[in-house]
Symmetry: C2
């Protein structure tokens, strides 16, 4: 039987007494502390390290926003609060999460193509910046501001004519549900400014999960050029420009980490030569997955080891109800293996080829196909890496009644 490769284990994980350690704690100790599996563990050290890498690479004047949709666990939000500059939210639910973490609404901006009136009102009342997605949304925001006697803080989300090349998800270029087509932005901006909105500038998001520095550098150049052009057409300086994100992490065999230094170098050059219209503009990048994705591990326990027609299955108590993307069922066309390991035999040599599956009664519930791993028995722990972003909340946790996983920041 031919093994299928698994994705690269992120750096920062090592063995203690032969076991995977996260934040200096052995996997089995973390499970004992949580009292159960499956368990998501998020590492403070790795979150800190990633922000430090970004700070070192990027020009000082480029702020870092955390898009909490990637991982809205309360402890993670609280941990990120002093580390990053701003927070991006996508619903009033997420606004409440930032409020509960004590984050000043002035640091928060709200994007999302389907903001309901109640959500707009909550955000305007709190003083959050709205990344306005359409002329209709602008009108509703102005009317609500009028009604509650508070000027809405409005930025316009731009649907640019270019995209982030090679990104996992394209969010610009051609017809899109996101933002306002670039050519209609100046008119709308003038209108909201004239109607008394507090003008907060532009949000230009071009894509996500790109591993090519070159593609990101090109997109950022295009974003700055477009922002300069639009600012001129609007006839007002841009108080702020959210340049979007798109920084990817390696998930799959052959994926190479993003060359962050190359991105930083190019940004230093751009910032040194900013056009006059952007000279005083507050600049930021918006990152979710890149900040938290590699800092999380999903731990589940082997419940059964069985053979079927010569194939060995490790059946775990985890599955797609917690890790939908790892099962290959979320925005994926061809399923590939995430990085996985036998957590309590982390430094052992692989000596067999197995299918790792979840506990759900559906053939979709696969965690690793034909992975070469050290021998594992019932009660051993399986680790699925890259579980810090789009894991717990991006999975159907009610499916089949097993309930959500435990989560822990260490």
């Amino acid at each position: 039987m031919k093994a299928k490769p698994v994705g690269p284990i992120p750096s920062g994980y090592r063995a203690i007494d032969g076991e995977l350690a996260i934040g200096g704690h052995k996997a089995s100790d973390l499970v004992a502390k949580a009292g159960r599996t499956p368990l998501f563990v998020y590492s403070r050290d790795l979150l800190d390290a990633r922000v430090a890498q970004l700070r070192a690479a990027l020009p000082q004047r480029i702020g870092i926003n955390y898009a909490i949709k990637a991982n809205p666990h309360p402890d993670v939000i609280r941990h990120m609060a002093p580390l990053v500059d701003g927070f991006d939210i996508a619903s009033a639910g997420e606004l409440r999460m930032t409020a509960e973490a004590g984050i000043d609404p002035v640091r928060v901006s709200f994007a999302g193509p389907g903001k309901r009136d109640e959500e707009l009102e909550e955000a305007i009342a709190a003083g959050v910046t709205l990344n306005c997605e359409s002329a209709g949304e602008a009108e509703r925001s102005l009317a609500i501001g009028q009604r509650i006697g508070k000027s809405p803080r409005i930025a316009i989300r731009v649907n640019p004519d270019f995209e982030l090349k090679g990104s996992g998800m394209k969010m610009g270029g051609g017809a899109k549900p996101f933002g306002v087509d670039a050519d209609k932005v100046p008119g709308l901006a003038k209108h909201v400014i004239a109607e008394g909105a507090e003008w907060r500038g532009l949000h230009i998001f071009t894509g996500s999960q790109a591993l090519s520095a070159e593609a990101i550098v090109e997109a950022q150049s295009n974003v700055l050029e477009l922002a300069d052009k639009l600012s001129g057409e609007i006839g007002e300086p841009l108080p702020k420009l959210n340049m979007g994100g798109g920084f990817g992490i390696p998930y799959f065999p052959g994926d190479e980490p993003l060359d962050l230094l190359a991105v930083g170098e190019a940004l230093h050059e751009r910032v040194a030569g900013l056009p006059a219209a952007l000279a005083d503009t507050e600049l930021c990048v918006e990152l979710g997955r890149y900040l938290v994705g590699e800092a999380g591990v999903y731990l589940c326990r082997v419940i059964d080891r069985k053979d079927s027609h010569g194939v060995t299955y490790l059946v775990t108590d985890g599955g797609l109800h917690h890790q939908l993307a790892a099962s290959g069922n979320f925005g994926t066309v061809v399923r590939r293996n995430y990085p996985v390991a036998i957590a309590n035999r982390f430094d052992a040599e692989p000596d067999e080829i197995v299918n790792v599956v979840g506990c759900l009664c559906t053939p979709l519930d696969r965690l690793a196909d034909l992975a070469r791993l050290p021998h594992a028995e019932v009660s051993d722990l399986v680790a699925v890496f890259c579980a810090g972003a789009y894991g717990a909340t991006a999975s159907p946790s009610a499916f089949l009644g097993h309930g959500p996983a435990a989560e822990m920041l260490v």
Copy 2:
């Protein structure tokens, strides 16, 4: 712009005052009663009608089991309780749901490849039948029975060497995480019987979501033949045989409803000519999606109507956080449109081509691509059909913080 076809609207839905009516209630009235959108509505009438169709078509001695994973809403389970013969569960969580609905555990059987010891104990203590998935699970069940002083009721789930042809998900044929390979079943059955388990027979599940009566008839024939053969090898009559399900519903353009009468006719023949070993065996089919899928509608509201590069988008307050499968991101390779309609203009002629999207800030959140629909404006209601199965609980309801949809049985 060329429209893409949408799936066929299930029968049983009609207009009252021009509006989609569900169970005799207008969509807008149901939303008013729920107090919000998005809303799943499940129709008692359509649930009843589907069971009546099955009773009329199938031989009387074929029982009908409801696999509650398809829709575990408490009111749905309670409504199904007197209509069907048995219930299939896939976790201890689902066991508790049947208990809360007052269902006698004798009517319940428990399948799933990763049953934890605590789950086995809860099920054995309650007297639920275990559809045992491996030799290891059998040993654990026997040991737990011993420890708590109660004979486990054990059926063996068989991994057959054939599959349900043309099924959406194949669950038999070759190496599988489900069940015990057919050739190992007799040995394991003799062992559990010798060890004092209460022998409950076999569970042979070959696939799901098949629309071809011919394929289902063939699979059922194979199931009966295999059960006869295994029963002979075990040397004990089969108290019960769960023949699996696989009855599909039409979701996509061109899908034709299953010819239930043809399935019933063939089953009448088979039942008339049953081999001696199965003469006294209790027979049942296990259905989930077929019982409830077409009885549910997902209603969401248009929040924004916008144009991007000449394409019209209806942005709704619904999305993949409630209807993952309809977005094309759950076990689908090529995205196709589910049946959709403008609920409050249900009898109007289509007069435009639009993209219907959800409110989530991700390009994955699509409800209908280039659908030909009657003109809709902000505050109109969009209906997505075939939402009764694998909707609310099979979707990542925590994603982006919008929270779960309302659900209502009418």
